[in-house]
Subunit: 165 residues, 4 copies
């Protein structure tokens, strides 16, 4: 009873197209919109600080997804190839609150042979809340691994776009 | 319609309309679409079981939001009035995986003076993964509190809609 | 006994022995003591309901650990053998608060060829807060798998102990 | 000493004394031992990066607890006084794995009128895994607030101890 026979295929075409579940890239900036739920807050009434890192990771994952990089397939088909965060610098300027609608902005600012650097910002209606600089390494079996050429091209495309942004 | 057109100056009009961030109610069923990210999985390769409860809570919060119940405002303006989960029965049938797109379906199946019961299902492309029956109590200062009349009307509307579903 | 004396060169012998990090089994009941931190609470001021499932899972993992079942080794050495939660019934009676010290009690109440059932309780200074009945299946590649004989013996030992509790 | 002898009627005296639930301060370094559970890992097989921030926050909370600063009481009795993270720099050197026993080390390296800076390290059997420099502000109603004199004294005590470490 929990599902109509056509539950997901059933979502109509408008909904399908409308759901930009992975956000969008415009002028070299990826934007992902998300909501603050109970799970994100703590007893002091605001979003728990570590949860901004979850938001940022969602932004990075969807940014990579939109430029054609499928992390679960990479991991499965490229012998455990994965992107791992090596370093983060995070500024917590203003707190987000329960029910807030936030935008996570992601920019690729540098790519190397086995690493990339991203700038991220968590915004609320255009107001800057939290910023992060993130150094990510490509690894296999815990060791640095060269980013495959096809991926580097995809990343470079966004980097170039960023220049125009 | 779930967000004002100027919620984020940076998003264009198409994105605005497309993003039904709080899901939608059709024939008494609320549906919220969401993505599985790194944060949701565990080392066994699937979604960590407790995280389905986070998904369900997002579904309940957005369902209440769409029928006009703002939980953070309730808490602030009605002397700490809150909805608290009293009991859950959860069937974990099949696992969700990294990168999956899921739909959380929420139905209100009963309302009382100070409580309500909901049926929820986590679906993947029409396939049933996890089901939950959830008993929720309205509380203030840790004690059962009567659901305000305006809220009960809103809930009844969805309950009626459910009958037609 | 739960850690080798040289696990951490920096901790002195007293600390080593004192830290019963995995709790203890007495009369068929496993007890794990834990603290409520910021991360566990939500803006309504209490522990977020899904987090009791994290507490219960810690209790089950440490209970299995103390009777000699190492889940990460099982997964690695037995072709992906894992314990997966199939069903939970959870009663949320009273809320836990920031800084609370809690005890998670775990009892094995039934074992089958490929499954086991546990009763769990989250207590605060002897007061019952949350109870859970948990059905766990042994799986491999997503399919039910027979619990290895050595594990069943270990589980039966605790089940017997429970009878005396 | 960190819990009254009758905190849990069900635990025997040995367990009581053994459980140094809040860790210990030695020569200006606070150490908290913790376990990696399912909830902490992700599908790539290691601890999800944001969860090291949860570990660090547990370390800071217990460090403050041991020098006599009760954050939930502060929040309740000092008009919402709270410590909020303003900035973090985090180096993720090596990954922690399921079932690992970790030590979170916390040092207070600077205190100001309304802020303090801490150095933290997540260690495994003496091996450095993750390091964090954390700037914390004392706030009330979202604005910087002077750290009460009694707290500053407590913090200074640990700072001095650190010099000897």
């Amino acid at each position: 009873m929990h599902q109509s026979p056509d539950a997901s295929p059933s979502a109509n075409a408008d909904e399908q197209q409308g759901h930009a579940l992975a956000g969008a890239i415009t002028n070299g900036v990826h934007r992902l919109r998300l909501r603050v739920y109970y799970e994100d807050t703590d007893f002091s009434g605001i979003v728990y600080h570590a949860n901004y890192l979850r938001y940022c990771e969602r932004g990075r994952s969807d940014c990579l997804r939109l430029i054609g990089i499928d992390q679960s397939r990479l991991h499965r088909e490229e012998g455990g190839l994965a992107f791992a965060v090596r370093r983060m610098e995070i500024d917590f300027r203003r707190p987000a609150l329960m029910d807030d609608v936030l935008d996570v902005e992601t920019r690729i600012i540098e790519t190397g042979g086995a690493s990339l650097t991203m700038d991220q910002a968590v915004m609320r209606a255009g107001e800057f809340l939290v910023g992060a600089r993130v150094a990510v390494a490509c690894i296999r079996d815990g060791r640095p691994a060269r980013i495959p050429a096809s991926l580097r091209e995809a990343l470079a495309g966004m980097l170039a776009g960023s220049g125009k942004g």
